[in-house]
Symmetry: C2
Subunit: 154 residues, 2 copies
DNA sequence: CAAAATAGTGAGCATGACTCACGGTGTGGT
DNA sequence: ACCACACCGTGAGTCATGCTCACTATTTTG
């Protein structure tokens, strides 16, 4: 029956999630980073100097969590805290030179990773994959994600 | 150029990872579970009553970590510790009735989730997707996963 | 039978997430 | 102009997950 093939495909997706997660975590550890702290650096990359409050909203975590992430990134020299020019309550988080260079190196590494995954794939298969993936993403986003219960993770 | 399409596809994959992770975590929280504890339950489901040492090997974590996971699952009533019949050093971790029912419910939920993702997808697109996904998984597994540097996670 | 290996756990550490409470600052209503 | 309220960041404390080191109890091995 068809159902079995669907379950097998879901198992493949779950394996992909695990492999990609593990790979990212290892790569980031080599660079002296964690996944959460990297999220924060990417937000800085997108939006430039940002208050901790805005970072909390963008990363969907509490303000207290951002304090901890910035503490860590400041200790290891990737970002620095600057007073906000007009609001003395707020602090602006900005890249240090080292932080900026690290993020640029990560962007380059990401391109290499994409090349590694797709470079030798026939165009037809690549297109078929992205078409299916796009549809799956639409459903995941659309269903609100809150009702379904995959119940497991591999 | 083609490279841009590859990067876009990688971004899709990273979004998928995030969405699936978040959805799983939420679903499990509703059931009173966490990802790691669920891994342990699935191992019990596959292999029946198991020593903590074997669970540690299966889950690729330290023995000490298994102690903590079993502590939590025992407190919330999903598993119980039984003395090993022949080795008085070891303990066998077994399902409680509640634990067994919970895992069966999760399996059912996973089937619903697969149905939700794939049910209305044309067979041709489904096949194209799984073909591409299979090739990507082969590369991820094969490359050892340790050399590449995606550097980012969304 | 003594020495070495194994099974589980206590203690202690780090990360990342949360809440609650609190001090300092900005803003709006009267 | 002022006071009450809202907002920003952080200290303190909690929980889950991982780790190592040290220890006891037991089994296996030489």
């Amino acid at each position: 029956m068809i159902g079995d093939r669907h379950i097998a495909a879901l198992d493949q997706i779950l394996e992909l999630v695990v492999l990609v997660n593990d790979d990212m975590t290892r790569s980031l550890a080599r660079a002296g980073l964690t996944v959460s702290r990297t999220h924060l650096l990417w937000e800085l990359r997108r939006h430039g100097p940002t208050t901790q409050r805005d970072l909390a909203a963008a990363l969907k975590v509490s303000a207290r969590t951002v304090t901890g992430l910035v503490d860590g990134l400041e200790t290891t020299g990737f970002v620095s805290r600057q007073p906000h020019p007009t609001d003395r309550r707020a602090t602006l988080v900005t890249f240090t030179e080292r932080g900026r260079q690290t993020v640029e190196a990560m962007e380059h590494g990401q391109q290499e990773f994409a090349h590694l995954l797709f470079a030798e794939m026939p165009a037809e298969r690549f297109d078929g994959f992205t078409a299916g993936l796009g549809e799956i993403l639409d459903r995941l986003r659309g269903i609100g994600l809150a009702q379904s219960q995959p119940g497991d993770d591999r």
